[in-house]
Symmetry: C2
Subunit: 151 residues, 2 copies
């Protein structure tokens, strides 16, 4: 077993998972804060030079694990590792956010899809893209096509 400690907490308007947009075409444009614990503030040196960050966090209010799930964006089942379902063997979430500001240990970001109080495990700089023309999105592209939704 590997033990992790929160390096800080998300401050967001979302108090309940029902409030978080999900499914096809869901957009995450909401702003929020990453409140890093003061003792880790030196680790943020120069972070404001990056436009986007990876936030790795814990689904602390999700219980149990389903290896096969039917996500909100489809009516067919898929393996949990092919989805963003919270009910995973390890309750790890990953979100790309846009960095808007920083004041000491508090980072203002856009693109929050976490509940208020979510424990943050790590932050990393977003450095590069996969070439757009090489991305295939499997069942999600199929579900969008069936739904007639725009990606």
């Amino acid at each position: 077993m590997i033990s992790m400690q929160p390096i800080g907490y998300v401050r967001s308007f979302y108090r309940d998972t029902q409030e978080i947009p999900k499914g096809l075409g869901a957009r995450h444009e909401v702003e929020g804060l990453l409140e890093i614990r003061p003792e880790f503030e030196p680790g943020l040196l120069d972070i404001e030079g990056f436009s986007h960050l990876y936030v790795i966090w814990a689904f602390d209010r999700s219980e149990g694990c389903n290896l096969v799930v039917t996500p909100p964006s489809d009516d067919r089942p898929h393996g949990v590792f092919a989805t963003r379902s919270p009910r995973r063997p390890n309750p790890i979430g990953l979100t790309v956010v846009q960095l808007m500001s920083r004041e000491g240990p508090v980072i203002g970001v856009r693109g929050i899809d976490m509940l208020d109080g979510t424990p943050i495990l790590d932050i990393k700089p977003y450095l590069s893209n996969v070439p757009q023309e090489r991305i295939r999105r499997g069942w999600l592209a199929d579900a969008e096509e069936r739904a007639g939704a725009k990606p």
Copy 2:
């Protein structure tokens, strides 16, 4: 504290961190395997439809933490959360790999930068890019410019 269990292990040619390309212009084109534990194989259903995956893993051979580090790509210090340094408060690694094949619980991938035997904590589908023109890469872009290196 939050406890995590390996869902599987990386099989790679790298036996020592010295062998892994680092620094400016480092490219990770090496192929390797993600050997998922057989009991989690159902969680891989439909994963082969995605061209790229996020692999979240543990730096299991890194000890301690430095909040301010001088990375191989620069001669100036930066906060650990603005770098990919292994000596982090939580020893979490994140790599985007290209999915090449799958046979049962074993996924063949390209883009490995982990040591052989590295514990895998989670796998997620790579769904979308940040618009290329909106990515800023802070100190890394500065270091590249000073070095005259191509990104």
